[in-house]
């Protein structure tokens, strides 16, 4: 059983929801990421690491800026694999990477998945690769024991949702809003409907995680109450990293405190 599947099984057993914490790898420097990851792993159940990309079309200003910082610090996909190896020495937390497709395609999809697995990664999310274009990546991920996590959004039709549920492994990523990543004050009204549609399509076969715009403990409580298995928080962590980039101790303390408060809501 994969680390991701085992984690969801364990939490279901405890009757708890999962917290998935996203940060951009290499933000603000590749050296810092393993420390941040270890701090987050104290509370989060799954770690999502973004591989920085020059043109992140699914991301809002917060994560765009994080990608810029990481790229300026010299972060490459190879650096990210090294970061994963470093985290693995200290933690057994399931690690999922988020990468735009050109980064996966560049070294060859098969080769990329192999490297990810060897480094200790468990899953991958490719935000600009819809089901129709996923065949090669799905096959390669399967070959190397990587869970490929597909996304569904409020515009996904019920028929597509069924196909996406069938193809996705690890969990299903439900995008709560129409739009890009970024902290929002309130949860969108679309979430409820989306969870309902997704539950009907998946019939409990795969855990459901909700992301985009979730930035507060009460958001986490709300989405879990709606029936999701996990809440994904990204931009809110990235904001803290940006705000305290000149004071690392403070940054790690704040991240720890915030992750703890989110996990308490699970």
């Amino acid at each position: 059983m994969s680390r991701i599947d085992a984690k969801f099984k364990e939490l279901r057993h405890e009757g708890k929801g999962a917290l998935i914490a996203f940060i951009t790898a290499g933000d603000t420097s590749p050296k810092l990421t393993p420390n941040i990851a270890t701090a987050l792993a104290e509370h989060a159940d799954i770690l999502e690491l973004g591989i920085p990309f020059s043109d992140p079309i699914a991301d809002g200003p917060t994560i765009q800026a994080a990608d810029d910082r990481a790229l300026s610090a010299g972060t490459t996909p190879e650096t990210v694999f090294k970061i994963i190896r470093d985290i693995r020495k200290r933690s057994d937390i399931p690690i999922v990477v988020l990468s735009y497709y050109n980064i996966v395609l560049n070294p060859g999809v098969e080769n990329f998945m192999k490297k990810l697995k060897t480094a200790g990664g468990d899953g991958i999310i490719i935000p600009d690769l819809p089901l129709e274009e996923s065949k090669e990546a799905l096959r390669a991920a399967k070959n190397h024991g990587i869970s490929m996590i597909l996304l569904a959004t409020p515009t996904t039709t019920p028929e597509r949702l069924k196909q996406i549920c069938r193809a996705s492994s690890g969990f299903l990523y439900l995008v709560s809003v129409l739009g890009v990543t970024g902290a929002r004050r309130k949860l969108s009204k679309e979430v409820k409907d989306l969870v309902k549609k997704a539950r009907a399509a998946s019939m409990g076969r795969i855990p459901m995680a909700i992301g985009f715009g979730i930035s507060k403990p009460r958001h986490v409580r709300e989405v879990l109450k709606l029936g999701a298995d996990a809440a994904i928080v990204g931009s809110a962590f990235v904001d803290l990293i940006a705000r305290h980039k000149n004071n690392k101790r403070r940054m790690l303390n704040e991240l720890d405190r915030f992750a703890k408060s989110l996990k308490a809501a699970c």
Partner: protein
């Protein structure tokens, strides 16, 4: 036979496709369905043809450039897209797509623009069709194409200055895609070139084919034969595909000229097909200028409309098939051609189009003296006067 080449929907062999966030898939499928239904609809076609004729001023002339011909040793005709309303071929596509948006019941259109020509053409068509219009433009392009920015505002379009990344066309497309993802239910994304996810490369090509259709008729009337060669500049590649398409099955040599900037070796260029490699950018698989890890590289061209690290997937396909020869010329060569056309013919070409003209001397060496060549004069150069003056060290 070149035409009939879609083994998979929306693909040109391995190129093309739909590499976009899931949120946009439904919208792309709707767009495709609407377009497939309307493209052969007699009323839609009649409407579009009327707008092209009465509003854009088509057909545009095919002018024999006598003095230029003498100078370069070829018989050169210019396809005068610079004389279409708004001053470039872009209007062909924006009239088509605004009409499509109107038929689809959309009230708001958004677009990206590099040189500002597509932005102006979009704002123009939107004003005429009564659609709300917002344009994304890189901050660097806003600075160097002020005239077009003001024109868009005159047309009551909102111009968003994009300050991320390289602040050029690439980043304007990123931002337009983000807007579309957010407002997908109400908004029509009016892409300006043969790039992006399927069905855009096909839609834009189809609306630009009018250039080649007219050229074919006009050159047969004038010369009683097809040209030996056609040359056009390639950024995303819409004017080029537009003039090439109706000649693909003929014995006519086709040349697509990219922006060589300060030379390929300098790394400061936008010659995607000449110096790039296969990758995925802005929703389709094509050639891309990228580093060894797949990060998109910064580009350079004196012509803002060519300053882009991607290229239409159908061009990648034409390169693979060897049907079109792709080459590039430098900023300096384009600037010389810009001056030459002013001096010999009294025509002010866009700097983008000047890239096609700059290739004429090379064509003489390949094709021989007096060969019959059509160059696509895709736009007029009023917008570039300031850049040209600065390049020549003249203060205006």
């Amino acid at each position: 036979m070149y035409v009939d080449k879609f083994p998979i929907k929306g693909k040109f062999n391995e190129f093309g496709g739909q590499f976009v966030p899931e949120t946009l898939m439904q919208a792309l499928q709707e767009l495709e369905a609407a377009y497939m239904k309307l493209k052969d609809d007699p009323k839609f076609k009649r409407d579009l043809n009327r707008y092209l004729r009465e509003y854009a001023g088509r057909p545009t002339p095919l002018s024999l450039a006598m003095n230029l011909s003498k100078k370069v040793g070829l018989k050169v005709y210019l396809k005068r897209e610079d004389l279409a309303w708004t001053g470039a071929h872009k209007i062909n596509n924006t009239l088509g797509q605004c009409l499509l948006a109107k038929y689809m019941g959309k009230k708001r259109v958004i677009a990206e623009t590099g040189a500002g020509q597509h932005g102006v053409a979009t704002a123009t068509a939107a004003a005429m069709f009564g659609l709300k219009c917002e344009i994304y433009m890189g901050a660097k392009d806003v600075r160097r194409q002020k005239l077009n920015v003001f024109r868009m505002r005159l047309l009551d379009a909102k111009v968003h200055e994009v300050k991320s990344g390289s602040q050029t066309l690439k980043d304007a497309i990123n931002e337009a895609l983000r807007d579309w993802t957010t407002n997908v239910r109400t908004t029509y994304y009016l892409l300006g070139s043969v790039v992006g996810p399927h069905p855009y490369p096909t839609i834009v090509r189809d609306f630009q084919r009018v250039i080649g259709r007219e050229t074919r008729k006009q050159i047969l009337e004038r010369e009683n034969r097809l040209p030996d060669a056609i040359v056009a500049c390639v950024g995303g590649g819409s004017n080029a595909i537009g003039i090439f398409y109706d000649f693909l099955d003929d014995d006519v040599k086709l040349y697509g000229i990219e922006a060589g900037g300060k030379g390929l070796r300098s790394g400061k260029h936008s010659a995607t097909l000449c110096a790039g490699s296969e990758g995925v950018l802005h929703g389709s698989r094509s050639y891309v200028l990228q580093d060894k890890f797949g990060q998109i590289l910064p580009t350079h061209s004196i012509a803002p409309g060519l300053d882009y690290p991607g290229v239409g997937p159908e061009h990648a396909f034409a390169k693979l098939r060897g049907r079109v020869k792709y080459d590039c010329v430098t900023d300096e060569e384009a600037m010389q051609a810009f001056k030459l056309l002013n001096e010999t013919e009294g025509i002010l070409p866009a700097l983008e189009s000047a890239h096609a003209l700059a290739y004429l001397p090379k064509l003489r060496r390949t094709l021989g003296d007096g060969a019959l060549v059509v160059a696509n004069l895709s736009g007029r150069g009023d917008k570039d006067v300031e850049i040209a003056a600065r390049y020549m060290g003249v203060k205006i």
